[in-house]
């Protein structure tokens, strides 16, 4: 059975869930997790699966945050992207004559992708005829055999003959500083667009490096709505992303050793309600290995399910990477405690950590009694 067919079996009867840039970026967050790689590779709706298992994901987006994001994006793009042009002129020295604006969304939704291709091809072919700003472009990327459609905020051209991805985010830059985790997430997401645009250029027979690895990040400055732009180098994020996508295309290795008929199907009824017995689905999922870490709590829909599993297994992963590193390869809580109170003999290579744990245990006992 070929790998693509195996993935289809894994997913079951529901159509594959399309990936957006945020989801693709999140793939790179925990590259070692086989469960996630398989579920994403098969296009399983992880959110629905987690819900059905009784472990709905703990995140959601506030309507206030969504509104704020939309309002800010509209402001940056208002009046022919007047604010964006100012920033590109100030930041990247965009020549005054370069103002041509193309709203790709002016064509019907089903033609947006084709129209984007045409426009980008024309721009790459003849710089003199190229537009400067392409609003609402639609790019695509193959993720484990499925096409994901991606919508960067704006693609800018004519900055030194290269395409730049413009990413508009509504988190504030205050006195030159922004929340580092928000910037990192934006960079990961922008890297997905860079990769998609490079892939497109390559398909069209152009030099993919015409897409800059510097993306233009636009955020509100201080407490005003006034946008400010900065360049963010996403080379590292691109490298991580590429590696993860390669891993996903090599899913056959992960599929090895799994039964041919293994499926994460929810067996939805006519109303779309899942009918698969929860225990059966949970068993199927447990056939795959997860690598739970507390970071998953903010990035993966399956996090509560995997955390519960880690608890049942008594895995020291529960306590975070720091503790795990400190324990130097002792993966289970019982094992570590056994080494600490001497009820367990260290395996080969565990002598040093065992000695430390025994010492630590002795000191805690001494101090607490």
């Amino acid at each position: 059975m070929n790998p693509q067919h195996r993935l289809d079996v894994l997913r079951g009867v529901t159509p594959p869930r399309p990936h957006d840039a945020r989801a693709i970026a999140a793939l790179a967050a925990n590259p070692g997790c086989a469960r996630r790689a398989l579920m994403d590779g098969a296009g399983v709706d992880k959110d629905a699966a987690a819900r059905h298992l009784g472990f709905p994901a703990p995140f959601g987006q506030s309507p206030f945050a969504i509104t704020r994001g939309n309002v800010f994006e509209a402001l940056v793009k208002a009046d022919g992207c007047a604010e964006l042009l100012r920033m590109l002129r100030e930041l990247l020295g965009l020549p005054v004559a370069e103002v041509a604006y193309h709203d790709v969304e002016n064509v019907g939704a089903h033609l947006r992708h084709a129209h984007t291709r045409t426009l980008i091809d024309r721009a790459a072919r003849d710089e003199h005829d190229a537009g400067t700003l392409y609003d609402h472009p639609l790019l695509s990327l193959e993720i484990a055999g499925h096409t994901a459609y991606l919508e960067p905020d704006v693609v800018a051209f004519q900055l030194g003959g290269r395409f730049h991805i413009v990413e508009i985010k509504s988190f504030a830059v205050i006195d030159g500083q922004a929340d580092p985790s928000a910037v990192a997430a934006a960079a990961r997401q922008a890297a997905v667009y860079v990769l998609a645009l490079r892939t497109l250029l390559e398909e069209l027979g152009h030099d993919p490096l015409k897409v800059s690895h510097d993306v233009v990040l636009v955020c509100p400055e201080n407490f005003a709505n006034r946008p400010v732009a900065s360049l963010v180098d996403v080379r590292r994020q691109l490298a991580v992303l590429r590696r993860q996508l390669t891993r996903m295309s090599a899913l056959d290795r992960l599929l090895e050793g799994l039964p041919d008929d293994l499926t994460f199907d929810l067996r939805p009824d006519d109303d779309g309600r899942p009918t698969r017995p929860v225990a059966e689905l949970a068993d199927a999922l447990r056939r795959t290995t997860a690598r739970y870490a507390p970071d998953c709590l903010s990035t993966c829909d399956m996090c509560f399910f995997c955390r519960d599993e880690a608890r049942q297994e008594g895995a020291s992963d529960l306590l975070g990477r720091q503790v795990r590193d400190e324990l130097g390869g002792v993966a289970s809580v019982a094992e570590a405690l056994g080494l600490a109170d001497g009820t367990r003999d260290p395996a080969a290579g565990q002598e040093e950590i065992a000695r430390l744990l025994r010492n630590a245990e002795r000191l805690r006992k001494e101090c607490l009694t």
Binding site: G60, F64, A172, P294, L319, A360, L363
Partner: protein, 475 residues
Amino acid sequence: MSLLTSLARLRALDEGIAQPIATVRHCHLADRPMVFIPLKLSGEAAAPLAAMLGADRDRPRLLVVAQPRNRDLRFAWAAELAGVLLPYVEGFLRDTETVERRNADPYERAIDAPQILVPNRAGVAFVRLLGRSMRFRRADGPYPVPESVPLLGRWLTYFAERAAYPGSSLMPAMTEELGRHWASGQSGLEDANLAALLAWITTGPSDDAEDPLIWPPAGPATDPGFDAEVLAPAMESGSAERVTEALRTQLEPSWRLMWQAIDLLAGLEEGAGVASRWEQDRGSFSGMAAHVAEGAPPQPRRDGAVAAAARLARMERAQAAYDAQRAYDDPLVMAEHRLTGEAFAGEVVDTDPGNTEGEGRSRKLRPLVVIKTDDPVRLSPGTSLGTPQRRAQGAELVSAGEGLVTVKITKGMGRGRTAAPGAVPEIGERVCYTSLTDDFQGSPALPDAEATPWTHGGPPREYVPDDEDAQEEWS
């Protein structure tokens, strides 16, 4: 995190209840702390939504911005907040003591200082942003705000900055403070949830703690489900009462948790070094108050190069001092250093109280003590040592091996030909020695601000807030 704490976390996970990692309390707890739980509007940098605050656990004040996007209402909220916080803060300036200083004029130090407790580190960060958004405002000019607002902004900035200072208790983040005293069986990330951490400490882990319907987040971010289902419709209705009541449901549970946490911390005996750190806090607070009274400008947007370097050096020293003090105050903290070999403890098995070094006039009393220890000592001969049992005493490592350590006492045993009574430990006594010291290491040689080298931006221009600062939109 040390291996000792990691072990405590493993034990907590195994036993289903948090484990102590301190035997005494390392933070100051005020007689009349101010609990402050601010909430912000999701998606905005520093749009206040509400705050529950007060120094009386039975009478919390609830301040609400019924329409957070309305600038006038936000500043009205800020003025209300100032009406509660400023009298609390300024109330501590009435009673002062005169402190004499070597090589400097004496100064007035407040006898007690304010303590504002927020739920978590994100709460401190939000206080910092609130301070930043208020301190440059003006009571006159094109975008006037109530006079108390810029003053509150300066104080909030001060408290948030002081919160980053190791060992300061002026604005503790509750989850951090609890986490310094108990190890839960969950990750540090999950410890940032006040309800979850308290559950681990008191009754054991509970899934309820992560259910926002049962325990709403302790801010500053609100639960997105609450925003969508409750808050947005309430705001749309235009009914201020409804918004207020909705936000009360989100804040009241956290209010109770904050006081429960205070009680837990109060149940621990105070560590010996806490008072001296609080004294520093009082001095710092008095300095800030004097600064304000002299009419100095608000804190700049960014530190100059020298100020930043000096600040960093100060923080590093404070961190080292805080680590050392906690170890001296608390055997469980000292145990971490014993584990790494920087400290050892054991029983005195032999002494030579009359041992001397040198001849004639330079002959010095150097009593020897031999200690039997199970600890892995990783100190080389000649290392200076201190001991929690006799804090004024200095010692030096002579030799270590085979579970026996010989130290000689070099300081603090009296000036006579024989050691002062009690200065040399008796055989059979349990003692602990460590290479950690809490010596003030002197400040690094940094140029005055006026002499900032050009590589670091040259001398900073004196910070004068301009109109732009005052007029900055707050949309």
